[in-house]
Amino acid sequence: MAIKQPSAPAEPGDAIAPPPAAPQVEADSSPVPGVLRNVVLGAFLLYCLLPATWIIAAMTKDNGQIFSTFGLWFATPIHFFENLSGLFTYQNGIFLRWFGNSLVYAGSITLGSTLICAMGGYAFSKYDFPYKQLLFNFILGTIMVPSTALVLPLFLLLNKVGLVNTMWGVILPSLVNPFGLYLMKTFWDSGFPSELIEASRLEGASEWQIFWRIGMPLMQTGLVTVALLCFVGAWNNFFLPLIVLSQDSLYPLTLGLNVWNSVSSAAGGRPVYNLIALGSLISVLPLLVAFVVLGKYWRGGLTAGATKG
């Protein structure tokens, strides 16, 4: 009997994307008139975009204009290109360093954590072992532990093993991702039938080959979803680097820009709000690109956990 190969790789997003907009409700069956609906949605749209408006205006101003002109509109003369070169040269171009650090942190955490969760989720989905359910529930329960409860003692422990103020001190603790493990288990449950494993075993494939060569290619949707959630979490991380790092050349963007803010706001500090505004915008660009390009994975992954209930 030949190993049953999937006829075609599943279309990304297939398994979890909401069904294509079924016109389930005609306009006349809505309890709210269309005009009112659009007004409410439009008002919330403006609210969501308000901070973006301030940032886009501020990145074209110099510091004086930021204080003296209306915050939600542009002012002349435009200082955008000055700010751009200022951003990459201020303090010997440390912004670029922070950007690179963020990429290193987020990249390594995403790769490592996704692989660890894929393997762990596979173990919970496809094998039986003593106390399996108990262990799984226990791991899930730890999602509720507030991060501060962990990070402070973690700092002391890292200090003992010499990982404080190193990149590893940020990366290694971030590899733990109980929610990612839970998501991967549900993806393995629904996306990789056990009969396929049995058949592969009869063909003489090793357990690792079954996981890596046959299982993983079928898990595209799940892997991208978990990787995206890891990336967002790692890119946005603030608390852990704040505690672990003291040397500014190791900072990620979130921490670095906040240091600039503290200095700008302190008495006697040179304000660089224009650079912070432009830097903030640049710091969210990778996420916005990932969101627009991979939108359906985001929506699917976020809702996979919550709509199963």
């Binding site: 809505s30 949605l41 173990a123 730890t142 603790p173 109980p178 603030f238 209930g309």
Partner: protein, 288 residues
Amino acid sequence: MRQYRKTALLFLAPFLTVFVAFYLTPVFYAIYLSLFIRKRVGIGPAKEIFGGLANYIRAIQDGDFLNGLKNMFVFGVVQVPVMLGLAIILALLLAESRGIFMKICRTAFFMPYGIPSAIGALIWGYLYSPNLSPFNQVLGALHGGAIDFLSPGVVLYSIANIVTWTWTGYNMITLFAALQNIPTELYEAAKVDGASPWDIVRSIKIPLLMPTLKLLFIFSVIGTSQLFTEAFVLRPLGYVADNITPNLYLYLTAARDANYSYAGALAILLALLIFVISGPFLRRISSK
């Protein structure tokens, strides 16, 4: 399946290793630390001595810690319902929209979730800051008044606004997806039975959204208990009390006052509190 036990363990090993090293060990270490108190014995520097539950007894009488908990409670009963209420209204409205406007809204509502909270709070901080705030520029032009969004009585609500801005879209998208999963036949059947559009919202949509809503509620409560970044980021820009959230208070206890044993006790108490509040909810949901 006994033969595969060892294989299962190998697959699980990387997760368990980091989980034990960077998750369980710190928790137990925090418990251990929390049992010590710092005491000055005779002349010389203070020493860490075993104090039993002394830190815990101190914590439950600590006005600063209790103030943080009180604020957390206010958040739980004001901000969370407002945010989830907004999310449900927007999800219901969005589900009835079509075309490009719907797609723009869907993306824009969700966007704040993708923005690092440290950056989002920073920008809101500028919108609040007395020197920079465009709101006050408008108010000033209208009738010369101004609101200090970062003053002691107001700052908690300013933080609530940042949290609402960040998370409403996330909650809305989740509810929106749950709405799409409701079979359309239910609406058809209800309409045949003479149900009005309001009846359908009240008797079909809302009840079917309840499991999702409960889960979002739990996640929001857990998030509330972890409030830190927003308060921390706003500190240089205005007056943010040290005890505004339990997390900020315990961070300062450790990072500024270097009192790790007391911070450990605060952390453990906070975690227990979250367990007590959200445990029953979570059990009910997972048993379904």
